[in-house]
Amino acid sequence: MNSFFLILVVIGLSVAGYAVGRARSVFAAAGDVRILHSLPSYYGMFVALGCGLPAILLLAIWLIIQPQIVDHMVMSGLDPSIMPQNADAYSLMLTDIRNLSSGNATSREASPAIVAATERYLALQSIGFWSMVVGVVCIAMLGLAWARSQISRNFRARNAVEKIIRALLIVCSMIAILTTVGIVLSLIFESIRFFARVPFFDFLFGIHWSPQTAIRAEQVGASGSFGAVPLFAGTMLITLIAMLVAGPIGLLSAIYMAEYANPKFRGIAKPMLEVLAGIPTVVYGFFAALTVAPMIRGWGEGVGLDVSSESALAAGLVMGIMIIPFVSSLSDDVINSVPQSLRDGSYGLGATKSETIRHVIIPAALPGIVGAFLLAVSRAIGETMIVVMAAGLASNLTANPFEAVTTVTVQIVTLLVGDQEFDSAKTLAAFALGLVLFFVTLGLNVVALRVVRKYREKYD
C-alpha cells in the first residue's frame, strides 16, 4: 500500500460522495427537483468536493512535512559520538541512512549505530504512513458527512461549487507565476556565483564575448571575456530577419485564408501551414546550413558582396519559415472573429474587399494580430538549433546580415553541454545568460502590453 493507493481511495470516496449528495438532494426535494435551488448534480459535486478536497490537501501537506520530521527525529536520536559536525557530513549521513533503508548503495560500510538509525528511520516512516492513512480517510469521511448534512432544499450548492471551481481557475492561472518563480530560482544561484567572478556590468555592457578560458587547470586562459552585448545584438538581428519573413507571409496568408479562400481551401491550407511549426528544428538547421547558406553565399559572390558562409541571413530566413504558422494560424482565427457587421458596413459604403480588409478588419483585429506577432517573436528568440547549425558561434557585434552572428540561446546550449567542469565561469555564464535574457524579454513584454493596450482602447 502506498500513497498512490490512498489517493485512489479518496477519489473513490469522492465518487461515493457524489452519489450520496445527489440522492440526498433528491430526497430533500421529495422527488420534485424543481424546488431545489440548484440542479441535483451540483449537490453531488458539493459533497464530492467536500469529501475529496480537504483529504487531498491534508495528504499533500503530510507528504511534504513528514520526511522533514522523520529526518530530524532520526538524526537527533543519533549517538552524539558519531553526530556529524558540519552540514555536508550531516546530509551525507542522512542520505546513507535513507539509502540503507531502501536497500540502496551507500557511501560507506554501515556501522551498528547507522544500522540502528536506519531501523528507527523505517519504524518512524511506517508510523507516519499509517497515521497519514488514518488521518486522510477520517478527514474524507468527516468532510463527506459534513457536506451531506449541509444539504437542504434551499442550500445554494451551485454557488458553493462554482466558488471552488473559480478558485481552481485562479490556481491554474497562477501556474504561470509559479513557473516564472521556478525559472528564476533555478537560474539565480548559479548566476550569483558567475557574477562573483565576472563583474555584473562587464557582463551586461561588455561588447566582447569570447569564453576562451582553459578547460584544464594547468592551462592558462586566453582571452576570457564575457560581454553579452554581441549575443543580444545577434539575437535581435536574427529575430528581425525572421519576422521580416514570417510577418508579411504569415499575415497575408491569414488574410487570404480568412477573407478570400473557400472553406475547403482553408481547411487544407491552415493545417498545412501548421505542419511548418512542427518540423523538428534539426531539419530546419540542416536546411539552413546546407541549402540556404551556400545559396546566399553564391548570390552574394555573384553581385560582389562579401558573404560569410555562416550568415545571419540564412538562419533568419529559415527561422522565419518556421514561425510562419504562429502568425498565420492565430491571425486567421482573429480575423475570422471580426464581426460580419463591420464588413457589411464597409461594403455598404462601397469599399472593395481589399479596402475593407486594410481599413476596417485589420485595425479591428489588431490586438489579436499583435499577440500572434509577439508569440512568433518569442519563439524566434527562444529558438536554438537553427542558429547553432547555420549561424555558428562567432560573436560579432554587427548589423550586417551577411556576417556570422551568434545568439543567447546558442551560447547557453554550447556552454551547458561542453566538456569544461560544471562550476567553471563558462558553464555558470549559461545560467547568467538565461537569467538576463529572461529579464530582457520581460521588459519587452511589458512595453508590448502597454502598446497593445493603447491600440485596444482605440478600436474597442
Partner: protein, 346 residues
Amino acid sequence: MLRNSIIKAIPLALAGVIAVAAAAEARDQIRIVGSSTVFPFSTTVAETFGKTSGFKTPVVESTGSGGGLKLFCSGVGVQHPDITNASRRIKKSEVELCAKNGVADIVEVKIGFDGIVIGNAKSGATLNLTKQQIFLALAAEVPVDGKIVKNPYNKWSDIDKSLPDQAIEVLGPPPTSGTRDAFVELAMRPGAKSFKMLADMRKADKKGFRKISDSMREDGKFIEAGENDNLIVQKLQANPAALGIFGFSFLDQNSDKIKGANVAGVSPTFENIAGGDYGISRSLYFYVKSAHIGVVPGIQEYVTEFTSEKAIGDEGYLTDKGLIPLPGADREKYRAAAANKTNLTM
C-alpha cells in the same frame, strides 16, 4: 460537470505518482552519462553487453563531460548515475566535489584515443601543413619580424608560398569542447614553440606564452562551428575552400567526400594515429562509482566488456567505430585497475 471532475482528477492522480516516484526504487539497469565524444563507443559496448550478457542494456546519456561529472559526483545511490564518460581527465575540483557528496571511491579507465583531423572536401587542394603553419593560420597573435602582432595572414599562400592561394577559412570546435582543448595543446602550442622567440618567452613567462599559443583568432577566419561533426563534414563538401577540424571517425566514414590534411608530413590514417606518428589526438576515459558495484547489477561485467581485447583491442569492434586503441601495456594496466577496483589517483 462530470467532465470537469475527470479533468480535476488528473492532477490529483499525478500528485499520487509524485509520491510513488519519490521513493528511491532499486534499479536493475546501469545508467551512464557524460561526453558526447565517448557516446558512440559507450553505446556500442552497452548494446553488445545487453545482447550477450543477459543484463538489461545500460542507458547512456550524452550530457557533455562537465555535465556528466557533475551528475556523477552528486552522490551515492541509485538515483545517481553509475558511470560517467569523459573526453578529458577528471579534475581535482571534481574529485573534491565527489568526495564531499560521499563518492569517495572512483575507478578510472582510459579506453583509447580520438584522432583529431584537419580536413577539406575531396575537390579542394591537398594540404601539407606543419604545426607552425597551423599556428600561423589560426592564432590570434603571431610573431612577425620579431614582434608579436595581430594575425596578418588572410590566405594560406601568405604563410607559405607552397600552400594554395586561397583564403583561410577553418571550421573548428568551440572553446567549451575537449577537442578544441586537445587541438590547442597538440597543434597550436608546438607550432608556437617552433619560433625561437616564443620558445624563449615560454621559459621566462609561461603565462604570456600560453596566452599567445592558446588564443584562436576571432576575425572570422577561424569559425567556431559547434560539435556536430557530420554538419562540419557536409559544410566542407558545400564549400571546398574551407577546412574543418573534427574527429577521425567522421573522416573514416566519409573518405569518399573529404580528405585529411597531412600534418608534419604524416597523413591522418588509423595506423598513423594508433602508432603515435600523427600527433593530434585526445584521450578518452570513463569513471565508475565503486559503491554501486554489486548494488546495480552488471556494472562489473560492463566494465569487463568495455576493457576486453574484443572491444578496445587492436582489432576490437570499437576500432570499427573509429576508436584509436591504447598501446597494449596501457590496456593491461587499465584492465587490471578495473578488475581490482583500483581507486583513482590524481
